[in-house]
Amino acid sequence: MTTKTMTMAKALNEGLRQSMEKNKKVLLMGEDIGKLGGVFRITDGLQKDFGEDRVIDAPLAESAIVGTAVGLAIRGYRTVCEMQFDGFVYPAFDQIVSQVAKLHKRTDGVYTMGLVIRLPFQGGIGAIEHHSESPEAYFAQTAGLRVVSCSTPNDAYWMIQQSIEHDDPIIFCEPKSRYWEKGEVDLDDPPCGLFDAVVRREGRDVTLIAYGAMVKTALRAAEAAAGEGVSLEVIDARSLAPLDLDTMVTSLEKTGRLVVVQEAPHMASIGSEIVAELTQRCFYSLRAPGLRVSGYHVPYPPSRIEEEYRPSVDRVLDAVDRVMGFES
């Protein structure tokens, strides 16, 4: 096993490079992704090595980035579109919902919408408005799309490659607040399938489910709870659509208690879906109702107070207390 330590940003960069080397039909398109390497430098050096025809600096129009990627897919190319920030994907929403999600079906499978839309998402970087959103549920609820999120450099490296190889369109959510954290990347083998959830920490008492940046928050909560004798199992959902419910059910059958942690507000969210599905599947095992710890139902606040908006270890532990205390 060859491993290498790198940041998530670098892992994504290396993953993109691998895909581009393996398949000449892989293109990258986005704003400032060429010479600048993207505002987060995820595509750093790739235009230099693969040329302007494969790493395309796009005029500033997100609908056009996605809309032309659709045409490229029809022509047999696989385009990885970079949205500069989560809050700037909405101009492309129509193309995503009306064309990307539906063209495979509309053409009875003739068109393959093999394209990836990379979305630096969630908050926590002290940015101004529109740079910290969690739009994943918009896409998760859209039939025809798949949505995944990485939380470690190793996952980033492999999941981006798996996404590019996959024949369905994928919304690839990158927790931007974790871009600069380092981790080991196994250069030989992927950790698991693209749509598998992973148990990041085993535990007995409560199942914590998180994704993206909140995985780390959940792990820190588990660490803290362990100090107080409460054993939390932490699951990284990884795939948000479809959800890997089997892995979650197995855990919940053991613990009987569920807390979902997400930065998005809880209304009609991934968390709502997990709670609804797991309640149905584990009704007899559940010792307490599944709870969601979420961002508040308000526009994302100025970032000086974003840490009070984003679920904190305290808020997670509070929910853990509530599910633990439910029967008493």
Partner: protein, 355 residues
């Protein structure tokens, strides 16, 4: 009312016009071929309209009045070109070889597509106004990367010309110099809205502001449409970049069979345009210049009736799809929610034999 800059090779009376820029390259046989195309497409349209009235179609979007625009453009295409239509391009579909019954599948509500778009190099209709123009520019970017000598043509209406997607597609086509022809059928109406609501000046001017040529052609003159489009396509294939062709034409019928144009437009306007009928015009030319006999036109009419009859039979034979088919091709790879749905439907005893 018609612009001076309008390219025209044939008057409404079917007389030749001297144009400094374009001349017709077509033989009498070829022109007769176009006449045949237009007549058959009009017959398909009238058959579809009556099928709709008889409750056999959910909807129909008539093409009547726009036959010259579509046959002229459709015949200018090379087999290797690729096209991205809206819901009204039946004449283009005809030129691309799409079987007429396949054109009607969407309107019989048994399919959201209707044909194999790769086989005919003609995409299935895009209903969301303007989306297809960006898809077409993207396809053209692929053509460039393949180094292929192919052109892409995309279609949209005067109404759709206001959509952000169409305007962004102009930006991209210009910036990347893609091999694309934007074929705008200005049929004067977007449902109930006159084209004067979308623009105060002729629409072809819009291209100039984006840095590529725009040209207005008499959309009821099949000879002119053919020449203008052919040149634009040839130019695109050899790296000359995009062109906007505005075919100035008229929607003779309702927007769709659901529409009631008497609520918003006056008969007098329709009457004026009847005198500019695209089929009569070329027929007059064929009679006067090429001495084509009445029997030849009768033969075409008979052939069109055969096409229409077959179309009717084919449509009536189109069963509703198996409900289980909704789960096919929703995704390219297996998906648990799709499997769950399929299982549920089977358990409910629906699908399989139920249609």
């Amino acid at each position: 009312m018609i612009d001076e800059e309008l390219v025209q090779l044939l008057t409404p009376e079917g007389e030749r016009v001297d144009s400094t820029e374009y001349e017709s390259s077509l033989s009498g046989d070829e022109i007769f071929g176009f006449y045949r195309d237009m007549a058959i497409v009009r017959r398909i349209c009238s058959e579809a309209t009556s099928l709709q009235r008889q409750g056999q179609l959910a909807l129909w979007a008539p093409v009547q009045g726009q036959e010259a625009a579509q046959i002229g453009a459709g015949r200018a295409l090379a087999p290797t070109d690729f096209t991205f239509p809206t819901y009204r391009e039946h004449g283009i579909a005809w030129c691309r070889g799409v079987p007429p019954e396949d054109m009607l599948r969407i309107f019989r509500a048994v399919s959201n597509g209707g044909w194999d778009p790769q086989k005919y190099r003609h995409s299935t209709p895009t209903v969301v106004l303007g989306n297809q123009t960006l898809n077409a520019v993207g396809y053209a970017m692929g053509v460039q990367r393949d180094g292929a000598e192919e052109a892409v043509m995309t279609f949209f209406g005067d109404g759709a010309s206001s959509q952000g997607d169409v305007l962004e597609s102009f930006v991209w086509a210009s910036s990347f110099n893609t091999p694309i022809v934007f074929f705008l059928q200005n049929n004067q109406w977007a449902i109930s809205e006159p084209s004067s609501l979308q623009t105060k000046i002729p629409l072809y001017h819009r291209a100039h502001g984006f840095g590529f040529p725009g040209i207005r052609v008499d959309g009821n003159d099949v000879l002119a449409v053919y020449e203008v489009t052919k040149r634009a396509l040839e130019n695109a294939r050899v790296g000359g970049g995009p062109t906007l062709v505005e075919a100035y034409t008229y929607r003779m019928g309702a927007h769709t069979t659901s529409d009631d144009p008497t609520r918003y437009r006056i008969d007098a306007e329709v009457e004026v345009w009847k005198h500019r009928d695209p089929i009569e015009r070329v027929k007059a030319l064929l009679v006067h210049e090429y001495k084509v006999k009445a029997t030849a036109f009768d033969e075409v009419a008979a052939e069109a009736d055969v096409v229409a009859l077959k179309l009717r039979d084919d449509v009536l034979a189109m069963d509703r799809p198996d409900p289980l088919s909704m789960f096919e091709h929703a995704y390219a790879a297996s998906h648990p929610l799709v499997e769950e749905g399929r299982r549920e439907m089977i358990e409910l005893g629906i699908g399989g034999s139920s249609h």
